[in-house]
Amino acid sequence: TFKSNPKKQEIMKWNGWGYSDSKFLYNKKGQAEFTGKRYRLSGMIIPGLREWMESTFSANLQHKTPAAPILNSSAVQPPTLNEAFLKELKSTGIPFSHDAEDRVFRSHGHCLHEIFALREGKIGRVPDLVVWPNCHNDVVKIVELACKHNVCLIPYGGGTSVSSALECPPEETRSIVSLDTSQMNRILWIDEKNLTAHVEAGIVGQDLERLLNESGYCTGHEPDSMEFSSLGGWVATRASGMKKNIYGNIEDLVVHIKMVTPRGVIEKSCQGPRMSTGPDVHHFIMGSEGTLGVVTEVTMKIRPMPEYQKYGSVVFPNFEMGVACLREVARQRCAPASIRLMDNEQFKFGHALKPQVSSIFTSFLDGLKKFYITKFKGFDPNRLCVATLLFEGDREKVLQHEKQVYDIAAKFGGLAAGEDNGQRGYMLTFVIAYLRDLGMDYYVIGESFETSMPWDRVLDICRNVKARIVRECKDKGVQFPPLSTCRVTQTYDAGACVYFYFAFNYRGLSDPVHVYEQVEHAAREEILANGGSLSHHHGVGKLRKEWMRESISSVGMGMLKSVKDYVDPNNIFGNRNLL
């Protein structure tokens, strides 16, 4: 069988986040350390992490819960193969595999329950076959064959889903084929006159940016998962990027989409920037979560690379002031490329992740800053919170913009807290996912989830959801107080996007994952009851589909259902997401 893309699968963990060489661990001295060479934090000692973990979760280095080291192939169900399909597939020459590791690798996203099961060596229903189309026409052939032989197709991009979207429906009796788009990773052309690029949908975020950068361009689309997530996945889930304030979310960036469905290929006939041709069919595709077809090629807007980037941060006396400041920034429509507000617990967490400082001078400076903020300015260290900022553009404008934002912040009691804090905040975005694996080595499980809401409800939702999490944990018998924290990650004219992080020490629980799921479920109920949305950009998948009807009304469901029925009457794209 064909071993595809050795570059990716081989250097990635099979039962955790990201690259195999990069992980947090406690070294022989009991100090936390981040291994590898890929990140700024790589190879560094993080002195505060242990104490933070011990005090936040009552975790203990003596109590370990190590993961199963290698995949036990015998635990994987033998594949159910559709011989007729396989025979015709072979004749097309498109590579495929039914190797256990290949199948397991594509059987999951990164929900807690998915990773937890893998660590315990438990394997559920996995795809029976993996195919690697190389181009749009390959996909057309595969879809035709799947229709002909009634095979279930599940498109697979970067595998970073956190909505159970990649899980094989256990009730599916047909042969399930995972359609891995990773070989379709080329930029087909760049149009400098219109500032667009035509790209194959399997390309991964970081490759797309790197390749465009070589020509002096960027898309500016930077979701937190951009190291691994793919363009097709962004389109299929309505992704959002950190710098959407300048570049827009995926729906703003996409000019043209080509998707292969059981009914044929859907695409528009031109690349006009806006059209009034009935409801925008792109919006049937964006957010369809692999239920209608495979996105194969996308034309995206590109921008010249920014001349100048500057990080920044502001400390506020409390979260309320911070939110009020973000609201004002949004009102004046002067949000920087990115502006995020962490609550107090996250601020402390960020603090705990500071690497060992190399010079006495830096640590002296840190001490001075802390003294200034808490003693001189009277900020309560248990209430203050911090906003991280990223400015982009030409140098002069950036500096002007920076001043405007800091002036607004000052009106809300905000104090500029330096570039370093800001930069570290964004760097943590990429390593934080690794941290969950460390927690799982020591009885700590957790996850993040997001929502969006109108401005006037931000504080209420943050407070109520955090409190609900704490209360549910207690009710469900969690022995230790959980970490329940949030941050505002995006601002809009009419509202904001909020992320919640939630983790707890599960010692003493017989079924920790079930408890985790109950608490997350309750937290989502709380969000919806308080006027938050079902999802801002993670999507619905199977994890949240029970709330779809109340979210979009029965008529809305009917509309989506009728599109599905028309496009895919035999449910070839049978991942059962969304509806």
Partner: protein, 669 residues
């Protein structure tokens, strides 16, 4: 009633036995007052636990927050557009309303009250007993969530007493919703204001601005955790000692911040205050008989000084389990209904919310009732009133009274009453000490006890006055009996249903139970829509105590059940007769008033006249009128409300705004 088909076989109901209800112990808070300096106590260091989310603010800042709130701002704009005046003028009006309303809680005033009340309480009462565990729970609740205190209301004393207790135990002092009538008492009104009272007009139905200021004021104090908010669910003092049908306005307001997600939760704490002897005993009786309520005035309060020389026994205050609004609303209210309208725009509560608030209110009043301490005298009142109605002129022998009281003691305990009967003292002593505390209401001669109906009188009085004097004693006594009605009401409804039903078929008994329950739903606290549960509960109690046997189809009275049933039936008798009289009167006069109708205000005195006439002549149509109690205006109002609700009487808005009553004669009977 297909519902009946699904009834489990009664007896196997896995219901919590009311006898096993866990209740806290009491401590006498006056004991320490009697042994240490009141002055030092009044000046003690007071550092209550506060709400964890509190942002401290001054009284004046509170007012600013109200005036600057989006909610009020919206209404001000609306009103200024409607009336065509500037919004500054309307804001001025709002500020004036707020000025009139707002409390000015001041620790020094509370200390003054603490000192004075210590002196007063020690003279008036033997003890003030508090469940300290309840206070610990309250402290926890105050720390975690905004708290609403919901005491029962039987006396003017209630809210001073509440603040006194909270001060004593170092708990956060509440702000208290008080009726505007207190403001009439100049000095006292201001003092009450400085001890946390805020004043609301009794009626402001259509006044949008007033409503907005008021509700925003309450919500802001609650949400910010400024202080626990205290108000009386019953709206006013119950003159009969029966719990009143809860008023929903304020409860609706305090639940709103939770329903709209502005706070994580709100704790509602029912508090049951029971007086062994009510200060206002005779006052209430007179009021019920039509002597109008004296206007609250400072000088009137001083006249109450003669009260100080009497013994009022003990007070029991029970702080109930805090009830979380969140858990009440869980799986009942869809909170996302508030998602689509900005929350500062006032909206009429949906049917769903109204029925939720109503059910919650009933639940809370029942929680108050359940923790109300009953004294032996309450049981004696039952016996004495029944004897009086049976016209046993020579009274009851002490032995017999004791025997009956002990029998009733055991019965009420089985029904879950919170009875404080000192078991270590011989019953005869318990009875005689109870009688001596209430010596104004009973007369004992030659070992026989009866109600003190024949009072010493100066000069000649008319038969009508004599009747009213008797009625004062009877209604006073009834106010004690009424304290325990909630214990017996469900079994009593069942007993009466068995009595009136044409057969012993379960279905038929259920039907008449349901009819009676429906008729009396203005009279007693019967949760709307809980007929089946109430029926089950009554069946369970009567089967458990060996009064009834119930099989699939039939309800059978056991050999020893007759006594209990007779007692239970007699519990409802005065009320049944009251409602009958009401109907008869209405029926008779419908002819007279047919063309014009009758205003509601005229109706009560008319009925009273009618009853007095018949009580004096001793006959009323076919049946004898045995219960002087039917003179109670409370009973008459409830009966009228029931008749209107049942469609026997119709309320029509007249052209001059009066409410006229038209009677559908055909519907009665």
């Amino acid at each position: 009633m297909t519902i009946l088909l699904f009834f489990p076989i009664v007896g196997s109901i896995t219901k919590k036995d009311p006898m096993l209800k866990k209740r806290d112990d009491f401590e006498d808070m006056l004991e320490e007052r009697r042994n240490s300096s009141d002055l030092r106590y009044a000046l003690k260091c007071y550092t209550p636990v506060l709400y964890k989310g509190l942002t401290p603010c001054k009284v004046s800042e509170l007012k600013q927050m109200v005036l600057q709130s989006d909610q009020l701002g919206y209404v001000i704009t609306q009103v200024s557009k409607e009336k065509g005046v500037t919004s500054d003028e309307v804001t001025g009006e709002a500020a004036a309303i707020l000025e009139e309303m707002a409390q000015r809680l001041q620790l020094s005033t509370v200390r003054f009250f603490a000192f004075t009340l210590s002196k007063v309480f020690k003279t008036l009462f033997r003890s003030i007993c508090i469940n300290e565990e309840g206070l610990q729970r309250l402290q926890q609740a105050i720390h975690n969530h905004p708290v609403v205190l919901l005491p029962s209301h039987r006396s003017y004393m209630d809210f001073l007493l509440m603040s006194y207790i909270l001060y004593t135990y170092d708990l956060a002092l509440p702000v208290i919703a008080a009726g505007m009538d207190f403001m009439g008492m100049k000095v006292v009104g201001e003092m009450l204001r400085m001890s946390g009272a805020f004043f609301i007009r009794r009626s402001f139905g259509g006044d949008k601005l007033y409503w907005a200021v008021f509700s925003e004021y309450v919500k802001i104090m609650l949400k910010n955790g400024y202080a626990p908010v205290e108000f009386f669910l019953e709206g006013t003092r119950s003159r009969t000692a029966k719990s009143l049908t809860p008023k929903l306005g304020l409860l609706n307001i305090v639940m709103d911040p939770f329903l709209k997600g502005e706070v994580f939760d709100i704790s509602l704490v029912p508090v049951s205050i029971s007086y062994e002897r009510t200060l206002e005993e005779a006052l209430y009786a007179r009021e019920l008989l039509g002597v109008p309520k004296p206007k609250e005035s400072t000088s009137g309060l001083f006249k109450a000084r003669k009260i100080l020389s009497e013994d009022y026994g003990s007070i029991h205050v029970y702080f109930g389990q805090p009830v979380s609004v969140r858990s009440l609303a869980e799986s009942r209210v869809n909170r996302s209904q508030f998602n689509l309208i900005p929350r500062h725009i006032p909206t009429r509560p949906s049917e769903e919310i109204l029925s939720f608030v109503n059910d919650s209110a009933y639940r809370l009043v029942r929680a108050q009732e359940e923790n109300m301490v009953l004294k032996p005298w309450v049981l004696l009142a039952f016996v004495l009133l029944q004897k009086q109605a049976a016209e046993e002129k020579q009274g009851t022998a002490l032995d017999e009274l004791t025997e009956q009281a002990v029998w009733l003691r055991d019965l009420s305990r089985q029904y879950g009453a919170f009875l404080h009967w000192p078991d270590h003292i011989p019953p005869s002593e318990v009875v005689s000490s109870s009688l001596s505390l209430h010596r104004g209401l009973v007369r004992i001669s030659e070992g026989r006890v009866q109600l003190a109906l024949e009072q010493e009188t100066r000069g000649a009085i008319t038969p009508e006055e004599e009747l009213l004097n008797k009625a004062v004693v009877i209604l006073s006594c009834a106010s004690y009996r009424n304290q325990a009605l909630n214990v017996f009401i469900r079994p009593a409804l069942l007993a009466s249903a068995i009595h009136t039903a044409a057969s012993n078929r379960k279905q038929e008994i259920y039907n008449s139970f349901s009819f009676l329950r429906n008729m009396f739903s203005n009279e007693f606290i019967l949760c709307p829509g809980a007929t089946v549960q109430d029926f089950e509960e009554a069946c369970y109690l009567l089967v458990k105590t060996g009064t009834l046997q119930i099989n699939q189809q039939e309800v059978l009275i056991t050999e020893r059940g007759h006594r209990t049933l007779a007692f239970l039936t007699s519990v409802l008798d005065p009320f049944l007769q009251g409602y009958q009289v009401r109907e008869m009167h209405t029926q008779r006069h419908s002819v007279v008033f047919n063309t014009n109708g009758l205003t509601e205000k005229q109706f009560i005195p008319a009925v009273r006249k009618f009853i007095i006439k018949h009580l004096l002549t001793g006959s009323l149509l076919k049946c004898r009128l045995r219960y002087t109690e039917v003179l109670s205006s409370d009973l008459q109002k409830n009966a009228l409300a029931a008749l209107i609700r049942l469609g026997a009487v119709q309320k029509i808005k007249g052209y001059v705004g009066f409410t006229h009553l038209h009677v559908h004669v055909g519907l009665i009977g």
